[in-house]
Structures are given as C-alpha cells and as structure tokens.
C-alpha cells in the first residue's frame, strides 16, 4: 500500500489522521514541521503528503513550493484559513487539493484515495478519441461508462448526457435552458428547473464534497461548467 506523510504541528490532529489512514491500510509517516517533512521525503518513498499551512519553521506553502522543485507527488493542504485567496495561493504553489479545518475525516480519506488513484493508476492511461477526461473524471462514450479517479460511477441516462455535454466543452458555461434544450432535445418552457436537480445529483456522484465541487462547477446565476481544479483562479 501507499506511504502517506502527515505534516502538522498539532500532534493530536496528526495522531487522529494516523489512526484513520492506518485503518485504511496506508503506511503513515509523521512530521511536525515543514523542515522535517522535506527531510522525510528525502529518506522515504512517499506517495502522498497531507500538509498543514501554518507551521513553525517553513510553513506548508513554502514546503510545497520546495517539494515541487523535485517531485510531483500529490500534496493536499490542510488549513484553518478558508478564504478563497488562500486556496488559490496553495493551488498555484503546486498543491493538488485543499481541505479546510475543521474537516470531516471521511472527506479526508476520500480525497486521499482520489489523489492516490490518480497518481498511481491514471498516469499511463491510454487515450482513445471516444474518451473524454477532465482531471480525475473520465467518460468513455463507447462503453457509456464514467469513472472518477478510476472508480466506476453509475449515472442515469440524463445525468450521463449532461456530463457528456459539459465535458465536451470544458470551461464553457451552459445555462439550464441550454442544457435542457441540448440534452432533452426540446424547447425549455419553464421546465429547466429540472436541470438543476439533475446537476445536483450528478455532483453528489462525481464530487467528494458536492458543496465544494472540484469538477462540476456552478456559475451562480449563469449556468454550469466542467473544469479541472485550479484552472480558474477564483
């Protein structure tokens, strides 16, 4: 199984996360400062790092920047700061994901698993023209199958069609009415509110935290779009 490095100056949080991740079968290494984390990465083969931002001696942002000079192992930042500017800074420096404290342990595990799967299995995935991928989400139009981080997800036909439409044009914003007309193939006469419900269900299936979607983003008041994380800095 994978080796995970947990780095936080708060020992109780480190030990709690150790318990969770050990229970999942991961080998856990711990560090309490950014400096320690950098040393451990040199000594051990680490597959994923969970890193706090506010730490004494070399904070999480600086440590991430240093690590990114030599390696591309997944880094998930943990922090009590929830401002979007902090998230953007973390992602720009090279972090792969971002979890704000206080976190739900289940969500942490899900994100760890997602990042690891992408890191270990998706790297050499063959590319076929019928295959659409955005980040960890892959849609195979021949098999009518969708996988998130390699895990198959079962979608209803309508959900599948909406996802395909959005994935065909990553970053493009579709309004509810447009989605309705393109997916249902009929004029939207006040029935586009159904689209929002479908999208919500779709988000619950492909996102770890539907309220903070990584891929299927809500552009409030305008529509929806599919996008890889960190492509829009806002």
């Amino acid at each position: 199984m994978a080796n995970i490095l947990i780095c936080d100056d708060e020992r109780d949080i480190v030990s709690a996360l150790t318990i969770y991740l050990s229970a999942e079968g991961y080998a856990v290494f711990t560090a309490y400062t950014g400096q320690e984390a950098l040393e451990l990465v040199q000594q051990q083969e680490i597959h994923l790092i969970l890193m706090d931002i506010m730490m004494p001696q070399l904070d999480g942002i600086a440590a991430t920047a240093k690590l990114r000079q030599s390696s591309n192992i997944p880094i998930i930042l943990l922090t009590a700061k929830s401002e979007s500017s902090d998230k953007v800074l973390g992602l720009n420096v090279g972090a792969d994901d971002y979890i704000t404290k206080p976190f739900d342990p289940v969500e942490v595990i899900a994100r760890v698993r997602s990042q690891l799967r992408r890191y270990t299995t998706l790297g050499g995935m063959e590319q076929r023209p019928s295959r659409l991928t955005i980040g960890g989400v892959a849609l195979d139009d021949e098999a009518k199958a969708v996988t998130v981080d390699g895990e198959p997800v079962s979608l209803t036909p309508m959900e599948y069609n909406i996802l395909r439409l959005l994935m065909q044009h990553p970053g493009k914003v579709y309004s509810s009415a447009q989605i309705y007309e393109l997916v249902w193939n009929e004029a939207a006469l006040g029935s586009e509110s159904a689209v929002a419900v479908h999208i919500r269900h779709l988000r619950e299936k492909i996102e770890i935290n539907p309220s903070e979607p990584r891929y299927l983003k809500v552009v409030w008041g305008l529509g929806y779009k599919m996008e890889a994380p960190g492509t829009t800095a806002r």
Partner: protein, 614 residues
C-alpha cells in the same frame, strides 16, 4: 562701532541741527541765487556814465540812455549851462538789465521842469555807491557778493542729504535696547502728527516765501527778511526732518498703521461691529448704505440745472461718486452671495456624505469665514469619527477571523476524536452522550464559520464582483441544490416569474449564499406540507425577489429582532444554526447595492430581496 554710531544721542542731535542748518543754507543760497538771477540784478557792467537827450519836444519828452547801467545806476538830467544841478533824477532804471537802450518818458512836461524845448541838455547817468554806509542797497549788495552761484547751494544740499541719510539710518535705535525704541514723538498718533506738521510747515513756508519776496530782498535792510525768512525756513525744514525721522523709526518698528487715530477709530468700530449680532450688523450696514446714498444725492447741487460755465467737479463728481458707490456695494453684495454659495455647496457635499468637502476659507470674509471654518471643523470631526469607526470595525473583523482560526484547530481534533469514539462502538448512555458531543461540535463548527462571514459581510471586507445575473437561473440552481432538503422537510417550492428574462446586477457567489441562508431557514422553520412561494418581479430599474413561507412555530418576535445577530425564532435554541443567517444575508445584499426586508404577518414569513437591474 556701527552700533555706537547709531545709538549716540548727542551725535544724532548735532547731526539733526547741522542737517537743518545745511538745508536752510542751501535753500537760502538757492533762493538768493535764483531771485537775483531772475531779476538780472547786479549783472550789468558799468561802462559809460553819460548819455544824451534830445529835449526838443514841447511836451513830454523822451530821453535816451544809451549804454550800460550797473550797480544801482541812477539817471539824472542836468543843464549843461548849470553843471552839477540836476534838473531831474530818477532812480528806478537802475535795476534794468544790462546793455539796455531804452527810451524813458519823463512823467512831467519839460516845461514844468523848467527845461526849454529845443535846447540841448546833457543827461548824466549817475552811479550809486552801493558800498556807502548810508546806501539803502548796501544789504542787497553784501548778499550779492555772497551768492557765489549754485555750487555752494548744491554742496550744502548734498551734505544735508548725507545728514538725512544718517538720521534715517539711526532712527529708532537707542543705547541698551535690542529692538527699535519709540520716543515720545514716535508715540504721537501718526496721522495727528503729520497733519499738525503739514499745517505748520505749510504756514512757515508761506511766511518764508513772502518775507523773502524779491521786493523785500531788494529793498530795505537785510534784517527785515534774513532773520524771519531764514528762521521760518529753518523751522519748516526742522519739522519736516523730524517727521521723516519719526516715520523711519515707526516703519522700522512696523507700527506705522497701528499708532494712528484712524486705526484706533477703525478698530473700535470694527470691535463694535464684531460684538454686534449678525442681524444687527446687517441692519446697521444697510442703514449706513442708505445714509451714504442720501448724502451723495444731496451733495449734488441740482441735477437738472447745469450752470454755466460747466463745472466738472461740481456737476459730475457727485454723480460719479453716487454711481461708483452703488456699483461698489453691488459688487460687494455679489461677492457676499458668491461666498454664501460656496458655503452652501460645501454644506451640501457634507450632508451628502462627502466628508472630504472643504470650504476655501481664504476667500471668505467676516462671519462667513468663521462659518466656513466651523463647517470644515464639522467635516474633520466627522471624518475622524468615520475613520476611527472603520478602523475599529476592521480590527474587530481581524480579531474575529484570528480567534476563529485559533478555535478551528482544537475543533478539528474534537470532531476527529468524536468520530473515532463513535467507531469504538459505545453502547447505552455513552452512545447518546457521544451523539450530543457530535451534534454540538458540528454546531460549533458552523458557528465559527458564520461569525467570520457575518463580520466580514457587515464591514464590507469581502471582494464583490458585480455582474449581470439571470435571477431565474440562480433561483433554479438554488432550488436544484435544495431539492433534497426541501423534499425532506415536506415543502414544495413554487416559483412565479414574468415571461421576460430578469437580469440583476449581483455577485453570483454572494447571491447564492443569501439564497442558501434563506432556503436553509425555510427548511428549518417552515411548516411541513406547506408551500414556499418565490416570486420574481422587475420595476423601476430594480429586480425584486419575494420568498414567502408559513412558519412552523408561532412567531412572537418582531422582524427587526429577527434581523439582529444571534437571534433565532426559537428562543430555546434547540435547532442547529448560529442565528446569523439573516444578518449575513442582509449584509451581503447591502454589499451588492441591494436590500433585504423581513415582514411577519401572523404565520406568514416573508423576505423581500431587491437588486439593481442590469
């Protein structure tokens, strides 16, 4: 050395006396020279003492003096047969210019003088001996010998100027004093001093010029004019010099204007005006204006009657003064109104919230200046208060954010370990207690987030990106997100919207948070099985959204109270939530330039959102 020179009193007194003497001498010499010269007095050269007259006429006859008369020459007519006996003598011609050739008329017929017409007489020109002790011309002659031309006059004038320079330079300095010292004469009110001085000087000059009149100089004893004349000039010059010196001293002390009767009068009038209330001042001002107008009107002799010869000063001047005065007052009134307008503009800007607005008090006068200064002080005070308030709000937000960050770290541990405990499979009461711990730690988590958001939203510490937003779309999106929860609460959402697309100016993320908070409230507090109505409308450049629901509990609380922070509809606080939702929503709406209003009618709970249309 220099200090000594300018402080030495005896030196100054001597210089004063000397300067006056030199100036007087210069003046006297100049007068003498100019007088003598203008009259051509004494300038002729005496060459011939005889002339011939042809007395042939029966009546008045002429005699001719050919040649030159000089130095008080007198002319006499003598009979050649009677040598030495003057038939007639005349002294007047003596003062005519040189090289004259003049026909003189005897004022008596020759016959009356005992001259025989046709007979030859010899006319003798007699020269007077001016040096003779009994000569009436002796004084003039002596003076004439003194005149010496303009050079001595110029020389003494130059010396006098030197003395004047020294006196002006040294004026006001006194031994043992660092600053300008004003002596008794410097302390006399200047205008009084100058007026008295001018009158005295004028009289003395008048007297002096009369005494040293040509006729007085040329005849009689020098004593009749030298002493009084030069004395008058001496005094006049002394007074003038004293005035110049005191002017210099006053100027050096910078007190030319202060020490005048005019200044005192002006100041006391001004002080009187200052004490007067503004209304009284205005009344007095208008009264004064009318009085001056009436005076100027009466000053004019008769507007309809133009006397001949046309006298400019009497006819036109009063009229010009009247018109000029009124134009001046008009300009003053305009300027006054302009100042008022400036003040009004500033006050208006202040009232509209532009605290940077300032009245330019440099261009304001009298009460208006003070008024402007007060306005500026109000603006400054308000500015300070606002700044202080902003700073304290910012500090508050920072404090809340920091505290919340600090709370989040232990809270993470608590939530994690509560979750781990749950996995231990506790049974009985322990499991119930653990559930309570779980629920309360989740509440605490929500609370820490809401407190930060509420503080940021109320202080405007959030980035706001206003863009045209389709209101219908965002309502659908929000309802799509809440589909599950509304269904769980047994609620049905009904959206009423007009045909056209409603576009509002808003920040999508913030508007979503508003709708999120409102829908979350509805799910928590609405009567299960009821409907939630969301009505959209547009009008007057605004887009409005009304959300109506039926409360589950009786609402014995006012809408105002509900809007307060930490107030919730259920006083027992059993349900989850921080009580900040509505407050945050309201702040966010205001940040976007919109508004949020609550109304409660029985169990009907209604929220009205308005946004600017795009």
């Amino acid at each position: 050395m220099i200090k000594k020179l300018r402080c030495c009193l005896p030196l100054k007194a001597a210089a004063f006396l000397l300067t006056v003497l030199l100036a007087t001498a210069s003046l006297g010499l100049a007068i003498l020279y100019l007088r003598c010269h203008a009259a051509g007095y004494f300038d002729a050269a005496y060459e011939d003492s005889s002339a011939f007259a042809d007395i042939s006429a029966d009546i008045a006859w002429d005699y001719l003096v050919r040649g030159v008369a000089r130095e008080g020459t007198t002319v006499g007519v003598a009979d050649p047969a009677l040598p030495g006996a003057l038939l007639y003598s005349d002294s007047a011609p003596a003062f005519y210019d040189a090289y004259w050739q003049e026909t003189m008329a005897l004022d008596q017929p020759a016959r009356e003088l005992g001259l025989t017409p046709g007979k030859d007489y010899r006319v003798t020109v007699y020269a007077l001996d001016l040096d003779a002790p009994d000569s009436p011309y002796r004084g003039s002659y002596l003076l004439f010998q003194l005149r010496g031309g303009l050079l001595p006059a110029a020389l003494s004038a130059a010396l006098a100027l030197l003395g004047l320079g020294y006196l002006l330079w040294a004026a006001g300095w006194r031994r043992g004093r660092e600053t300008i010292y004003l002596n008794w004469q410097d302390r006399i009110p200047l205008d009084l001093y100058l007026a008295a001085d001018a009158i005295a000087v004028w009289y003395l000059v008048y007297y002096g010029t009369r005494v040293t009149d040509f006729y007085n100089i040329s005849s009689g004893s020098p004593l009749t004019w030298i002493l009084p004349g030069l004395g008058a000039f001496f005094l006049a010059i002394a007074l003038t010099l004293a005035a110049l010196v005191t002017l210099a001293a006053r100027r050096k002390a910078g007190r030319m204007w202060e020490n005048t009767l005019c200044c005192r009068l002006f100041r006391s009038v001004r002080a009187f005006f200052r004490v007067l209330p503004f209304a009284w001042r205005t009344a007095l001002g208008v009264a004064g204006y009318l009085a001056v107008n009436v005076f100027l009107l009466f000053l004019h002799p008769n507007i309809t009657y133009f006397s001949y010869p046309f006298d400019f000063w009497i006819q036109v001047l009063p009229l010009a003064a009247l018109v000029g005065f009124n134009l001046l007052v008009l300009a003053g009134c305009t300027f006054f109104s302009w100042q008022l307008q400036q003040l009004e503009r500033t006050a208006k800007a202040l009232a509209e919230g532009n605290l940077e607005a300032k009245a330019d008090t440099r261009r304001l006068f009298f009460s208006l200046k003070r008024h402007g200064e007060h306005l500026n002080a109000i603006g400054d005070g308000m500015n300070r208060a606002v700044e202080q308030r902003m700073r304290s709000e910012r500090l508050k937000t920072e404090l809340i954010t920091n505290v919340s960050h600090d709370i989040k770290t232990p809270l993470t541990s608590i939530i994690s370990y509560v979750d781990l405990l749950k996995k231990e499979g506790l049974t009985g009461d322990a499991a119930d207690y653990l559930n309570i711990l779980d629920r309360q730690s989740q509440r605490l988590r929500k609370l820490t987030e809401d407190v930060v958001e509420a503080s940021k939203a109320s202080t405007g510490n959030l980035p706001v990106d206003l863009q045209p937003i389709q209101v219908r779309e965002i309502v659908d999106q929000a309802l799509g997100d809440y589909d599950q929860r509304l269904g769980d609460s047994g609620l049905q959402a009904v959206v009423g919207a007009p045909e056209e697309v409603l576009t509002a100016l808003a920040d999508g993320k913030l508007l979503w948070r508003v709708l999120d908070n409102l829908l979350s409230n509805v799910c928590k507090y609405a009567q299960p099985g009821s409907r939630v109505y969301i009505d959209l409308a547009a009008g007057e450049g605004r887009v409005s959204l009304a959300m109506k629901s039926i409360s589950r509990e009786m609402l014995n609380i006012s809408a105002e109270e509900l809007m307060e922070r930490f107030v919730r509809a259920d006083a027992s606080r059993h349900t989850e939530g921080s009580g900040l939702g509505l407050n945050i929503a309201k702040s966010l709406m205001e940040l976007m330039g919109g508004s949020l209003a609550l109304s409660i009618d029985g169990d009907l709970f209604r929220v009205d959102l308005t946004l600017r249309g795009a």
